[in-house]
């Protein structure tokens, strides 16, 4: 089969089994768009801003486990996509970005819409390619998908000069079944001896805890993680990225850890003697002050990326490998082992944990006359039976979502953790809804974040992707305001906006349903009504308490045991506990 470069690209996507391409046209990709026009197997989703193309593709990948695909033009198309690419990179999301480039002969001449896309994206992709010959195109695409989806996943960009897709130049096409790259061989199984050591350490622990992260979701290790945890009867905590990797409603789950983690999770980490870290990268939001991090613990760390191991915290038993096979091996060893966890130590450990749970760190004022953001999330959880896909933006609302929506399944919680990108939530919700048209998809957002990609309301209409936007409208950049309250004597510098749009009218202008909810007693009904409108995008503008803060909080430079707690009326909070 002889094809031109444009058709080759589209054919590669078909052969790769790609359902959706999220993109935006422009001069240097017109040949490719013409090839797209000639078929309908690969569906193109026209966004309203290239950043959103990357976020939607990224969220599609997070929800399905399949790589997301993005197509943008050279110059501004590529630079607009960079925020989205960096977002995916920081959270290790598999994605392939095809960017147009000016024709090869004029590269380097400051041609119209030329930027050094390979150079600009280099620090925020797993790898990138500049295609120099149309004969290399199919193999390069195969490599891109292979690199993006294996090992520690990540975005891979393929920069395609316009002459490469020239419709008049046709070359034989064959999509390679497989590629071998001598310089890229990700590790899969872990070192047997290390795994054995880890199991012994785990079984002889007195105060063990399992700390799991995004790697469990990315590596499809949730079943094995759940089995291992329940076999051992140990407490487990998840990072923000790891939520859903272990059922949040299970009694062994002690909540999220880190800056806005639960009191019990952070205290248990602090007091533990053995930590099993699984697919988590000891991020600074998780560890707090490094010098005070888990002073009594020996640490076992499973990660596919050797560079994640002992990067910030020195570990005692490193295991380089994929979570799934490594956990399987551990489960076998535990089954066969003569050593059993000590019942008495475990009992007293759980008693101690119960005393921390009794602090009820997530309690808030339920009699408030104004809508509490936590209440909205709790009601959302009930109305959707805990089964919705929840995307979020960045800020306080993101933390409330993580704390009060209890994810029992992986790939349901879709948020930007590593880069913390405001504007992520709405395009992400669209990407998820396209992947699962029958599912409930909610975007928990704030009045500042939502305005960063609000134009995607138009995309949601065009492609019939009805999502529910839960706007926790506190008329502040709440997360910024909270830091200013705590660290800058409440000097709220530039953290509020005077002219917030009428979101109801805005939603209507885009062809959707808008709802304004101002009283706590209306929250439940509004949510039920919105989700009953199955085929409509609904913008729910909840006017929430302006002064509410996210608790618990470990302030910058503090250790896990040094948490700021909320004093809510009627709750037995004893501040001296810390």
């Amino acid at each position: 089969m002889e094809l031109s470069g444009g058709h080759i690209l589209v054919q590669c996507l078909k052969d790769e089994g790609v359902e959706f391409v999220f993109g935006y046209p422009g001069g240097s990709v017109l040949h490719i768009y013409d090839a797209i026009f000639h078929q309908d197997e690969v569906k193109h989703i026209l966004v309203r801003h290239e950043q959103a193309a990357a976020h939607a593709a990224d969220a599609y990948a997070r929800a399905t486990g399949k790589p997301g695909v993005v197509l943008v033009t050279s110059g501004p198309g590529a630079t607009n996509a960079v925020t989205g690419i960096a977002t995916a990179y920081m959270d290790s999301i598999p994605m392939v970005i095809i960017s147009g480039q000016v024709p090869s002969p004029v590269i380097g001449s400051d041609a119209f819409q030329e930027v050094d896309t390979v150079g600009i994206t280099r620090p925020c992709v797993k790898h990138n390619f500049l295609v120099k010959d149309v004969n290399d195109l199919a193999e390069t695409m195969k490599k891109a998908f292979y690199v993006a989806t294996t090992g520690r996943p990540g975005p891979v960009l393929v920069d395609v000069p316009k002459d490469i897709t020239d419709p008049n130049i046709k070359v034989p096409y064959k999509y390679p079944k497989k590629v071998v790259m001598r310089s890229y061989n990700p590790v899969v199984t872990g070192h047997k001896g290390q795994i054995k050591r880890a199991v012994e350490m785990l079984l002889t622990a007195q105060r063990p805890i399992i700390y799991s992260g995004g790697g469990v979701i990315l590596g499809e290790g949730h079943k094995e993680l759940t089995e291992l945890t329940q076999m051992l009867g140990y407490p487990i905590t998840n990072t923000l990225m790891g939520l859903g990797g272990y059922p949040a409603t299970d009694k062994q789950f002690v909540g999220m850890l880190g800056m806005h983690g639960t009191y019990e999770a952070n205290m248990a980490m602090h007091e533990s003697d053995v930590i099993l870290a699984v697919g988590a990268r000891f991020d600074d939001r998780v560890t707090g002050k490094l010098a005070e991090f888990c002073p009594y613990a020996k640490i076992i760390h499973i990660d596919v990326d050797p560079a994640s191991i002992s990067k910030t915290v020195k570990v005692d038993v490193p295991i380089v490998g994929e979570v799934k096979p490594v956990l399987e091996q551990m489960i076998e060893l535990i089954k066969d082992s003569k050593i059993k966890p000590s019942k008495t130590s475990l009992e007293s450990w759980w008693q101690l944990i119960q005393s921390w749970r009794d602090v009820h760190c997530l309690e808030y004022d339920r009699n408030s006359k104004v809508i509490k953001p936590q209440y909205v999330v709790e009601q959302l959880y009930q109305v959707t039976h805990g089964e919705a896909y929840v995307t979020s933006d960045v800020g306080q609302h993101q933390m409330y979502a993580a704390q009060y929506y209890h994810f029992d399944k992986p790939r349901r919680w879709i948020n930007s953790g590593g880069l913390g990108t405001m504007g992520f939530g709405l395009p992400a919700a669209i990407g998820v809804k396209l992947a699962f048209p029958e599912a409930n998809v909610a975007c928990i957002t704030g009045e500042a974040s939502i305005q960063m990609c609000i134009q995607e309301l138009s995309t949601a209409l065009q492609y019939n992707a009805p999502v529910k936007i839960i706007n926790l409208n506190n008329r502040y950049m709440g997360m910024v305001r909270q830091w200013q309250e705590f660290s800058y004597e409440s000097r709220y510098s530039q953290s509020y906006m005077d002219t917030i749009p009428d979101f109801v009218k805005l939603a209507e202008a885009y062809g959707h349903v808008g709802m304004l909810i101002e009283k706590p007693e209306d929250v439940r009904g509004a949510l039920e009504h919105a989700f009953a409108l199955k085929d409509r995008t609904v913008f729910l503008d909840f006017i929430t308490d302006r002064t509410e803060n996210v608790y618990p909080m470990i302030e910058a430079g503090k250790g896990h045991h040094d948490m700021k707690l909320r004093v809510a009326p009627g709750t037995p909070v004893d501040r001296e506990l810390s």
Partner: protein, 163 residues
């Protein structure tokens, strides 16, 4: 501590910038860097001198290994190895100093490879410390120009860094 990292890397446009970019983005220091293709033209050999605590060097080697274009690498400083650097020095000469300069070059086993009425160009290889010593042997003002390649290195014994 000083480390000398020897890297086999795909000989592709952009490969060098990936390595250089990694160092600047992560704030690692590069004292010197040399690159050239190997006997297999699809591969380049890069020698990079850096320094840092053991933890930093561990991260540097892990991060380098993570680059898709990097095929293999070793830290030469971990075992017995040989290091050499090439230097070209242009030295001012006059009727009175010529003999003295030539004597110095001989002591250091260098070669004079260009001569004018008022200058010599000297070629010298050796360990970096030897090249330093040679330069320090001259009075201020007598050296016109120094060009150094930065060290390259190879491990001792039969083992080699190859595919």
């Amino acid at each position: 501590m000083r480390h000398i990292i020897s890297i086999l890397i795909e000989n592709e446009a952009g490969a060098l910038s990936r390595v250089a970019g990694l160092f600047s983005a992560r704030g690692y220091n590069i004292e010197s860097l040399t690159v050239a293709p190997t006997e297999d033209p699809s591969l380049s050999r890069m020698t990079l001198v850096t320094s840092g605590s053991d933890e930093i060097i561990e991260q540097i080697t892990k991060q380098l290994n993570k680059l898709i274009d990097v095929v293999k690498l070793i830290d030469l400083a971990e075992s017995a190895h040989i290091e050499r650097e090439l230097m070209l020095v242009k030295i001012k000469t006059s009727h009175d100093t010529r003999e003295e300069v030539k004597r110095m070059v001989d002591i250091f086993r260098g070669k004079i490879i260009d001569v004018t009425a008022n200058s010599y160009v000297v070629e010298m290889t050796g360990q970096s410390s030897k090249l330093d010593a040679f330069i320090h042997g001259f009075e201020e003002g007598s050296i016109i120009e120094v060009v150094r390649s930065g060290p390259t290195g190879i491990s001792r014994g039969e083992k080699g860094l190859h595919l």
